[in-house]
């Protein structure tokens, strides 16, 4: 009570009364609050001077702060502060650190890169990052691929070829797998014969009589499998047809089948329904030539490079 009395003596009220006797003190703002407020006003003014702030007609006031960067033409430019210019400056800094390596990558041939121990260290780290960002979602983190979807990059079986040039071509231009649907052209028995023949090529349990008939059919004009897979059934890398003799499977779920009959049935399915998949996007427009070169060597060195 005494405190209230004291206050009523020193602080004025706002001067109006509500409901007869309700009054409101008019205390001054705390000093710390008032000065903090002044400081924020000052901060705002300093900020306006340094950074882009006020709109001005169809443009704005850029502020006195600048960013200097070098663009791809080698011109040094100074621009009012903005995050896009900052990115350019940041990229310049990173380029300066990485440029010697990327210049080397650009200048060296694939054979030279593969032999150079210093370069292989760079390829391993830079390639790993590039592979994880761009390739791993399909080919998986270690490049082991995905049965039924995306080829294994760590073995020495290549649909389109495992040389530096072929890998480079695959990454740059992308790929699109295709095999016609045979269920409309051939009877179920004929496809069964072919499946047994293909199984026999990889040493999988099969019916010898059916396989022999399949062999004839494979090399006949009726099925004409040899057009794409070759007379020796080892595939043709220029069109990406699979080697059928090596017991390495991408489309037919042969490893997943427990019995010999199951394995033949898996092959049967692929022949019957054909394939219009195995699409790899083209990376030519997305990655720089040096990045593609790094990736080419990285994929080549995953284990199966030829």
């Amino acid at each position: 009570m005494s405190e209230q009395k004291l206050q009523s003596q020193t602080v004025q009220t706002t001067g109006h009364a509500w409901d007869g006797d309700l009054q409101e003190y008019n205390n001054p703002l705390p000093v710390w609050w008032v000065y903090t407020f002044y400081i924020t006003v000052l901060f705002a003014i300093v900020y306006w001077v340094i950074y882009p702030s006020w709109p001005f007609g169809k443009t704005w006031i850029g502020g006195v702060s600048n960013v200097t960067y070098v663009n791809s033409d080698g011109q040094t430019k100074t621009h009012a502060w903005n995050t896009r210019a900052l990115l350019m400056a940041d990229l310049n800094k990173a380029d300066a650190a990485q440029k010697p390596y990327f210049d080397k990558v650009a200048a060296m041939s694939y054979a030279q890169i593969a032999k150079d121990p210093e370069m292989s260290g760079f390829i391993l780290s830079a390639g790993k990052a590039l592979f994880a960002d761009n390739c791993a979602p399909c080919h998986q983190a270690g490049g082991q691929g995905k049965l039924g979807f995306f080829p294994n990059l760590t073995d020495d079986d290549w649909l389109y070829g495992g040389t530096f040039d072929k890998i480079h071509q695959t990454i740059t231009g992308g790929r699109h797998g295709y095999m016609p649907t045979f269920s409309e052209v051939l009877s179920g028995d004929q496809i069964d014969q072919l499946a047994n023949y293909v199984a026999s090529l990889s040493g999988i349990g099969h019916d010898a009589a059916k396989a022999a008939a399949g062999n004839t059919l494979f090399h006949s004009e009726t099925a004409a499998c040899y057009y794409c897979h070759g007379v020796d059934a080892k595939g043709r890398k220029e069109i990406g047809s699979a080697n059928l003799t090596d017991d390495i499977w991408l489309w037919a779920n042969v490893p997943g089948a427990a019995t010999a009959e199951g394995k033949v049935a898996a092959i049967h399915n692929v022949i019957a329904s054909g394939l219009n998949k195995g699409v790899m996007p083209a990376w030519g427009g997305r990655l720089s030539p040096e990045q593609i070169k790094v990736l080419t060597v990285y994929v080549h060195e995953l284990g199966g490079g030829q």
Partner: protein, 248 residues
């Protein structure tokens, strides 16, 4: 200050207080937003950006229905790490026909602003159906119903008319169609013509066969068509690396 001003007026006049309060709290928004409508470079001048085709737009509707935006942003910021992972930073121009835009800031999954063309259709179908079969460490839910559910295209014209109301240049009249032909070329303009919408969906879905199943048009077709166009409209190889610095 007017010496006759009395705070009591505001405190005793609730209508006046409402008006003045709204004025006070809208200042912050107004000074940040309003100038953008008058500044020339807010939307960068860039070639290639067009409204979504009806099929892509339906895919976008499904993207929103399934709440993809809760985990995926569509806004690549101008930082080096984002450029390395996702590609060129997003331009305002690239989302000028998005209503509402999907920029977002929550990234449980990766940014999708430039996911178009990065993976094959087949990957998308498998990944949406069972994400962990493609990316073992993924926490994304399965969306198995997308390829089983036929796409509802019965209300596509209404949907496009609604977007037209908010400024997306889908054409309804001949004059609008001709303006689109001049702006986007005839092939695109045909797809943006509202009376053609259903036919356009059927044609694009059959041609693209996004879900790998030719027996019908599924929601998967639409969603994959949408994902595959994200971030692909502008060809950044046509522009110098610092072209868009001057727009900010």
């Amino acid at each position: 200050m007017n010496l006759n001003f009395k705070h009591e007026w505001v405190e005793t006049n609730i209508g006046l207080m409402v008006v003045l309060t709204m004025l006070a709290i809208s200042i912050g928004g107004l000074v940040e937003i309003a100038p953008l409508f008058f500044i020339d470079n807010t939307i960068e001048k860039v070639d290639g950006v067009r409204p979504y085709t009806p099929l892509e737009q339906r895919g976008r509707d499904i993207y929103q229905r399934e709440g993809c935006y809760l985990c995926h942003s569509q806004m690549i910021r101008p930082f080096r790490d984002e450029k390395l992972r996702y590609g060129h930073y997003s331009l305002a121009a690239e989302s000028q026909y998005d209503h509402p835009f999907q920029w977002g800031s929550k990234r449980t999954g990766p940014d999708l602003a430039r996911v178009g063309g990065k993976y094959s259709n087949e990957w998308h179908v498998q990944h949406l159906t069972a994400p962990r079969s493609m990316v073992p460490e993924s926490v994304m839910p399965n969306y198995p119903w997308l390829s089983k559910t036929p796409l509802d295209i019965s209300d596509i014209t209404d949907r496009m008319k609604a977007l037209r109301e908010v400024g997306v240049p889908y054409s309804l009249t001949d004059a609008e169609y001709k303006a689109n032909v001049a702006k986007f070329g005839e092939t695109v303009a045909k797809q943006l013509h509202i009376p053609n919408a259903q036919q356009s969906i059927v044609e694009q879905a059959n041609f693209g066969n996004y879900d790998g199943d030719r027996s019908g048009i599924s929601e998967m077709d639409a969603l994959v068509a949408y994902l595959q166009v994200l971030g692909t409209m502008v060809d950044f190889n046509k522009y110098k690396d610092d072209t868009f610095v001057n727009d900010r």
